[in-house]
Chain length 657, copies 2
Amino acid sequence: MKGTAVTVMAMVFGNKGETSGTGVCFSRDPSTGENVFMGEYLMNAQGEDVVAGIRTPQKLSQLEQTNKAIYDELCQIRERLEKHYHDMQDMEFTVEEGKLFMLQCRNGKRTGAAAVKMAVDMVGEGLITKEQALLRVEPEQLNQLLLPQLDKDAVKKATEIASGLNASPGAGCGQIVFTADEAEAWAKEGKKVLLVRKETSPDDIAGMAVAQGILTSTGGRTSHAAVVARGMGTPCVCGCADVTFKDANTIVVKGKEYKKGDYLTIDGATGRVFEGQVAVKPATISGDLETFLGWADEVRNASVRTTASGKTVKGFNVLANGDTPKNAEDAFRFGAMGIGLCRTEHMFFDEPKLTAFQKMIVSETTEARKENLAKILPYQQKDFYEIIKTMAGRPVTIRLLDPPLNEFIQAETDAAATALASKLGMDKAALVAKVAALDEHNPMLGHRGCRLAITYPEIYEMQVEAIARATAQLDKEGAKHDVRIMIPNVVTYKEVEQIRGQAEAVIANVNKECGTNLKFQIGSMVEFPRTALSADKVASVADFFSFGSNDLTQTTLGFSRDDYGKFINSYLDQRVLEDDPFATLDPDGPGALMEIAEAKGRSVKADLHLGICGEHGGDPASIELCYKYGLNYVSCSPFRVPLARLAGAQAVIKANK
Amino acid sequence: MKGTAVTVMAMVFGNKGETSGTGVCFSRDPSTGENVFMGEYLMNAQGEDVVAGIRTPQKLSQLEQTNKAIYDELCQIRERLEKHYHDMQDMEFTVEEGKLFMLQCRNGKRTGAAAVKMAVDMVGEGLITKEQALLRVEPEQLNQLLLPQLDKDAVKKATEIASGLNASPGAGCGQIVFTADEAEAWAKEGKKVLLVRKETSPDDIAGMAVAQGILTSTGGRTSHAAVVARGMGTPCVCGCADVTFKDANTIVVKGKEYKKGDYLTIDGATGRVFEGQVAVKPATISGDLETFLGWADEVRNASVRTTASGKTVKGFNVLANGDTPKNAEDAFRFGAMGIGLCRTEHMFFDEPKLTAFQKMIVSETTEARKENLAKILPYQQKDFYEIIKTMAGRPVTIRLLDPPLNEFIQAETDAAATALASKLGMDKAALVAKVAALDEHNPMLGHRGCRLAITYPEIYEMQVEAIARATAQLDKEGAKHDVRIMIPNVVTYKEVEQIRGQAEAVIANVNKECGTNLKFQIGSMVEFPRTALSADKVASVADFFSFGSNDLTQTTLGFSRDDYGKFINSYLDQRVLEDDPFATLDPDGPGALMEIAEAKGRSVKADLHLGICGEHGGDPASIELCYKYGLNYVSCSPFRVPLARLAGAQAVIKANK
């Protein structure tokens, strides 16, 4: 976006009386992108006077009335400069005793909306090509078009009380509540709530979903709150250490108390927290956006590149991560070509599924586990049915259960243990022992994902049955479907081989019973280094790979997402690391493993489908690497799909240069 | 060790009266290895009768008296068979009415001591070569020669009350105590104690060091208790779930109570736990062992191989892991060529170092941290001085601080917090907050190792100063020294570069002050996949690599050593994994990364020195892989050094075949 400054060497003076003056103008409107000439002008003044804001300048249109000759000359220059630079110009000029001098010009800064409109307009005007247009907009600028924003004037008057990490963009304003249950209850009464928590957990999902924004006192940009909020498109400020919890109804921020029900406003784009209600502007989506992103899709769809391993890969798709029909609708609306990651664990947190699942967890026999899983099956089937139906034939990639079982059953206090034991109809001491047995020292490296299916095959068998039955139901209704099953936490091909065999047996049963002939692609997550290092073996039994780049980053660097906040700032400040590896894919770490996995995987299956479904799938620099590595698609949260569509196209254009 | 069975097809009968009979004999003594003919014989009996133990057989020497012709014939056959098979034979024979029939023979099973003696004797007799001799002894058999054993006859009469995991071999018998403090106190009174714990932590080190054995109710073969016990050569049974803790003075095993002070005996080789005192036989080291291991050293020292990356590597050394002068002495005694891993964290657990270190941890300023570190410096210097002196010029590789700080400062109960706050002279609430802030969700992936030196450079600076001062002191005394500094938890070359710069500045100061000219090799641990994947960059700033294969296994597979007990048995039972990856190096996981690190590292430094200092350094199958990967040495606990010397030689011989 940097332009070349054109500077005249002579001194000119705009303060030589009423036929002199100075001004700043834009060849198009930098806020909206409209093709109108606009600017400001001060009679009898030097350039600094305009910038300093001491005197109120006149609009450029007034110059047209007071000095038409100068104005017309300026209009001609505007046109010449735009044609020369093929971009919107930010110009400074001085009039000395009736004579116009251009002081300098540069490509002008612009909002996201303006960037899109100008890019589209300039293609129409023949000033630039579609490829140039696509490079004119920073992907992150698109977020501005898709999320509610704080009103800038209102911010100036607002009282900022604290700031934390800008975890999920957008402005959120509401009455503060301190538990997910309160959030749900208040929202039901029609109140707008802002959920304030120390940190969030999967139990809080329902409360988070109804909140206008989420504010936490601990946790980083990849904490549960941040990841879930971004997935939901909910504004979120994390790790705001100035927020302390006094009692169930009060928080204290820098000595000042705020009671439940008081209003706060957060700006997820900057991490700032304001007292009271700050005006929020609704999202405005430029009419040109669809045109613009359509070009991005064309470029990505037509792309062809050769990977380091020598394979030719065509096309570069954008899918979305989504766990609910609402997510699927958002994904559709934002142009995702399918669901690249449908997590199933959230589906267990609503009652009566939760109780049945908890009973399954505490069961001592396979029979008892199966009995409780059977109760969950119809609910899972319904969840799957709705998502698959919404996506109307676009791929839906369903990940089988991923987190450790202890996330579903906790009894941190004595009272919680009593209540849970009573709910599950079991002896409290036995429950406490079970909870303790499920506890993990390093849960990220624990008994989770497909490891659960090696110890308890019946869990995945139930899930696969629910998927197959939901698909069979749609199939009979004549609906389109493209469902793929994804196994998480794989470390050896033998896990895939064994789980695949069990899944295919379940699918065969459903086919027999329903008279269908369903087949499902069954793929492997690549989340641990070993999976990438032995990708040739894994590819021999998997239909596709999806890189879980969050976990892959954790294990490749030995950085826990929950703990790295203690040292990452020192690393970045001292430039021991250039980027936060959880924000931007690290080419010397997980990136190197992705290249190895591509080469080894495609050495046995030349057309092996590769994708990414970690947080990096929505980061422009990471998307560029994914293109380079030969991935067929990236999958990101629905609200980042437009960004990914553009970033992907930019990766293609840059690679073709 | 399997021989070919020689079977006669005709039926013969040893139960045809007093000129008939049947017997089993060994061409040498399978218990001691002595070159004496021995066996058992039953008149008028069939083979089953000898084996069944219904009648008490006569010694073979009695056959010499009752039927010299048959005995002489048998002696000739013994000699012929040994010459033919070049190994000790286990033979069955029958005499039918005065005629000798050989029923079958095979290579005989033998104890470790016998295996060594026979191998050495047979080389002397010209029956086998030294290489053949080295392949005749299973490395694990050497353990039998080095550790106290339960007396077999005593075991038969003993009452087995439970069994757990055979975590560290050897027999341990003592009065049970339930805390490390009790162990220390009782041991001071001259009592032999067996430490029984739910699990152990670094706080328990002193108590573990004085115990005859360690028994834990939770934890696996790589738990803290197991690892430390093996390092100390202390017998240990882990994960014995039948042991429950009733109160401070009582454990319950399968319903029966045992009070503090009662005797129990454990067999760390089998995992069995016995009531009372079972007789323990002291270790007997065969006089031939040194000869035998000397041959192993010759073979390893003379070895030359080419790695997959095309580099030629000469020699294959065995070093020991050791943190104390006592460890260093053991290492020396068992033939280690140096210390490959000297952990420094244990050095902080004795007072007054612990209090100073805790004060350092809770300090809010760099000055306060330095002040407390300065108090520790002379103690660390003394520790280093003694170890370096003991190794008398052999390499001593010192690893800078590795674990997260929270391992040093814990306040799990309110009383503990009160006591600790008072000891550190700080506000209790502030202490509790500090402890909470240091808490980690996934400590294995947390703020530890050189990450501490990026946030608090003064910690490593103190340690490097202590190393340099200790070495300077020895240097001035004219003592030999070869000290190497090792940086743990490296993920990027920039960590090494930065820490190296700081260390070299400290060393230069010490040289200036002491008038010495010390130089230290400064190397990098390779414990995380990223380090291996970017080994070319790391090698450009590191003098050597040491693979921390425990952590590398954890991160490459995403298996927490503390948690994988929940699923590993399912994996092994279903053969989803062939071996426990923490016991045997996994060639598709950490092994593949070691190969990558070798190739990339030596691509920039052809003679880059490579070693391993994880638990795998003492495992024969892993040692074979380390040889294949081109490592210069393995480092293991002192008690496994003889095993590693042999296993390394076997790797050489097998590779040369």
